[in-house]
């Protein structure tokens, strides 16, 4: 009644009991068929090796590994390389794998029969795996073992080669980069040196000394100016003395005997002295470009020209052959005055030099900000280049250490833990599994068939069916009678009954009765 009404557990139990043979027989038959089929299937043997990945002997805090890429990615890459046609073809030809087929098909078949299974351990490092299995499946155990060994060798060799290549490649690359960085650093150093040469005294670090020097120069200037003023005062005094002496002295013209008045102190000289005193005073406060200073200098120069052209005390009556006679004091004064002039000129030169230096340092100080900006840019570039160089140098050294570690066999490497085993039994087909699978399939088939039969069988079987379909109460349910043996006490004694004369004559068939 499956599918026609809601069934209870007892209904399912009855169905199961009713269809038990439909379940058991297909299960047995299919199990037997599967077992039989397993004997006709070509066996397959699997050989496997275990490769462990040993960590490098030196801590990574001290020496960084040559290859830092994820091991899973590297393993996948190695697998692709080893499973390439160029790598597999020699193995196929060596062991004559899958004879009779085309090489492409042989390569594909070989690839399908190679399996790489990583081992993942909870106690391994978080970003790596402790090792992997290499498996190869073949039709006979010896071939499986040999090919598995060959492939394992390929893996280990590939790993070593990759590491060496990586180490050398890294070193070479870093060397080239380092050379470039050094060249850039040298260039930058040159630029900085040129700049420092060009702007010597104006560099940011020299501003303080410049200020100090300027202060010193100003002091010197002030001192020199004071000295000059003093010297000019002395000269003026000497000049006044000389003028005074000359005014009292009588001078006779030797030729004519004419008494000439002595020359009076020249006002131009006095004016000259005054002007020079003014100049000195202004020079102590202003630069030589100051307008007043420039004007004074021009006046002084003009006056000096005039004095030179017509010196004081000189008269027109001086005839030819006339000859003056001066006292020694006058001569001394004249000498002193000359000396003072010399000193004054020297002092003025010194003053001018000091003023020049002051202007120089002032110019330096004023241009320092602009120079500083340029200097900073240069030093920043220089720092960057240097930092790059230092980094590269550090990496270079690390790479060399890692390469050295690798060469000493102390770096991370593949270690063959278990060599390829010789399989002693085929991995496929596993007959018990075949049997169980066949039984399960048969059981499933039996279930389907039983379900179908139950669905198609609409016969009433129980009181529940009667009520479900007829809404009638079942007054009684009579068990099957006929084949069930009678109670021994009521079993008729055939022999005794026969004595009574055909008492248990078999009833005539209905057809006879109706005829």
């Amino acid at each position: 009644m499956l599918g026609h009404r809601t069934l209870k557990a007892s209904d399912f139990a009855a169905i199961f009991k009713r269809r038990a043979l439909w379940l058991i027989i297909p299960a047995l038959l299919c199990a037997a068929a599967a077992l039989t089929a397993s004997f006709f299937i070509a066996p397959r043997y699997v050989s496997q090796t275990l490769v462990l990945i040993e960590q490098q002997k030196v801590s990574e805090d001290y020496v960084k590994p040559v290859i830092a890429a994820d091991l899973d990615a590297r393993l996948a890459s190695m697998k692709e390389q080893i499973l390439s046609r160029s790598r597999l073809q020699p193995i196929i030809e060596k062991f004559n794998l899958y004879p009779g087929a085309k090489m492409d098909e042989r390569v594909d078949a070989t690839r399908k029969n190679i399996d790489i299974k990583p081992i993942r351990s909870e106690i391994s490092r978080a970003n790596g795996l402790p090792g992997f299995f290499i498996l190869f499946t073949a039709g006979d155990p010896r071939t499986a073992q040999q090919v598995c060994s060959e492939i394992t060798s390929l893996f280990v060799g590939e790993d070593l080669r990759a590491r060496e290549q990586s180490a050398q490649g890294t070193t070479d690359f870093l060397e080239s980069q380092l050379a470039e960085a050094k060249s850039a650093l040298d260039t930058q150093d040159g630029k900085l040196a040129d700049f420092q040469t060009k702007y010597v005294g104006k560099l940011p670090g020299q501003q303080a000394p410049n200020m100090d020097m300027l202060t010193s120069l100003n002091t010197q200037l002030q001192t020199a100016a004071q000295q000059l003023a003093q010297m000019e005062q002395n000269r003026a005094y000497q000049q006044s003395l000389l003028s005074s002496l000359q005014s009292t002295a009588t001078t006779r013209d030797a030729t004519t005997g004419v008494l000439t008045a002595s020359a009076l102190p020249d006002e131009r000289q006095t004016q000259l002295v005054a002007l020079q005193a003014q100049e000195t005073d202004l020079a102590s406060r202003y630069t030589s470009d100051y307008p007043d200073v420039v004007s004074l200098k021009r006046q002084i120069a003009d006056l000096q020209k005039q004095i030179k052209a017509k010196p004081a005390g000189t008269t027109a009556a001086t005839g030819s052959g006339g000859k003056s006679t001066e006292s020694p004091g006058v001569l001394q004064l004249r000498a002193a005055i000359q000396a003072s002039d010399t000193g004054i000129n020297a002092k003025r030169a010194e003053l001018a030099q000091i003023q020049g230096n002051v202007r120089l340092y002032q110019e330096r100080i004023s241009s320092s900000p602009l120079v500083e900006e340029q200097y900073k840019a240069l030093t920043r570039d220089q720092d960057t280049v240097k930092k790059n160089y230092d980094d590269l140098l550090t990496k270079m050294n690390e790479s060399k250490m890692a390469t050295s570690l690798q060469r000493r066999q102390q770096g991370e490497q593949f270690s063959l833990m278990d060599a390829a085993n010789l399989p002693d039994s085929p991995s496929y087909p596993k007959r018990p599994i075949f049997g169980v699978a066949g039984a399960f399939a048969g059981l499933l088939l039996g279930l389907v068939v039983s379900a179908l039969l139950e669905y198609r069988n609409t016969a009433i079987r129980s009181e529940d069916d009667v009520f479900a379909f007829l809404q009638l109460n079942t007054l009684i349910a009579i068990e099957q009678v006929g084949d069930r043996p009678l109670m021994p006490a009521y079993k008729p004694d055939a022999a005794a009954e026969n004595k009574r004369g055909k008492r248990f004559r078999k009833p005539a068939p209905i057809a006879a009765e109706h005829s």
Binding site: M1, A459, I460, L472, T474, L475, I476, E479, L486
Partner: protein
């Protein structure tokens, strides 16, 4: 037949005739009073002609007091008695959807089961006039029977059988059972089943028995059962477990829609475990 019984029979006939509105004398079938005195049919107050019955215990397990099947029929008997306590129930028709579902088996065993209760008098009628089979269960003769009565050749008392002394000695459980076999083959069976003669027969025998069990034909194949059911107080639908399909059963139920369908009897249940409680079962007591 003693005189008292004859008077009772006459009174019953008059009552039934008046209820139908048809004079008894016009009915061709039953010859009710003509040969009553002549026919030695009611010896021991039990209607019917004494006959030697060779009952089959395999077919009539109700004869065995301690079998599960007999217990089931006793339970059916109890259910019917419960039903009768609330509604009139004397004549019961056995029908089914298809042939070979156990109508005759149930009818025969029910009749035997009813018969064993406190001297209850039971009449078993083989109403399956197309394929009568009840005579096999009792080992009785199949003629004269209902067909002869309906054909008008025999009176009811002539077609009625009862167990003779020899049979009763062997099967005491058949003491109060009368049997009307099917009789010969008839033409126009449907017409006869529709006829009022069967109703007259039922009316005739009702006063004489406590129960009347009528076996009939499959209701979905022929109309006999429906016709006969009109004259019965109730109908039991026999369903054979694992054989009767529910569409057929539903169709049979629909055919008997106008009748009083009391319930169903589920026959030949295979999954029911044979009870051994108190020895009811093949491995029970009496072994």
């Amino acid at each position: 037949m003693n005189r008292t019984h004859q008077e009772l029979l006459r009174a019953a006939l008059e009552d039934s005739a008046s209820a139908d509105g048809m004079p008894v004398s016009t009915l061709p079938g039953p010859r009710l009073t003509a040969d009553i005195a002549a026919a030695p049919v009611f010896a021991g107050d039990m209607p019917g002609v004494p006959c030697r019955w060779r009952a089959s215990l395999i077919d009539l397990p109700s004869l065995q007091p301690r079998t599960a099947v007999a217990e089931q029929f006793r339970r059916l008997r109890s259910r019917l008695l419960e039903y009768r306590a609330q509604q009139p129930l004397k004549t019961i028709l056995m029908s089914s959807a298809q042939p070979q579902e156990g109508k005759s088996f149930v009818a025969a065993n029910l009749a035997v089961g009813l018969n064993q209760h406190r001297g209850t008098r039971v009449l078993l009628i083989d109403g399956d006039m197309r394929r009568y089979s009840l005579q096999r269960y009792l080992g009785a003769a199949f003629k004269p029977g209902l067909a002869d009565y309906l054909a008008g050749t025999h009176a009811p008392e002539e077609i009625m059988q009862r167990a003779d002394a020899a049979t009763l000695e062997e099967f005491p459980g058949l003491a109060h059972l009368s049997f009307i076999p099917g009789g010969g083959m008839l033409e126009h069976v449907s017409d006869l089943s529709e006829d009022a003669h069967f109703g007259n027969l039922i009316r005739y025998v009702k006063p004489l028995f406590d129960w009347v069990v009528v076996d009939s034909s499959p209701v979905t194949l022929v109309s006999d059962a429906v016709n006969l059911a009109r004259h019965c107080d109730g109908v039991l639908l026999v369903v054979r477990a694992g054989v009767t399909k529910y569409p057929d059963a539903q169709r049979a139920q629909a055919e008997l829609q106008a009748s009083n369908l009391i319930g169903a009897v589920l026959n030949a249940v295979e999954d029911r475990p044979a009870p051994s409680y108190y020895g009811y079962g093949p491995a029970g007591a009496d072994a």
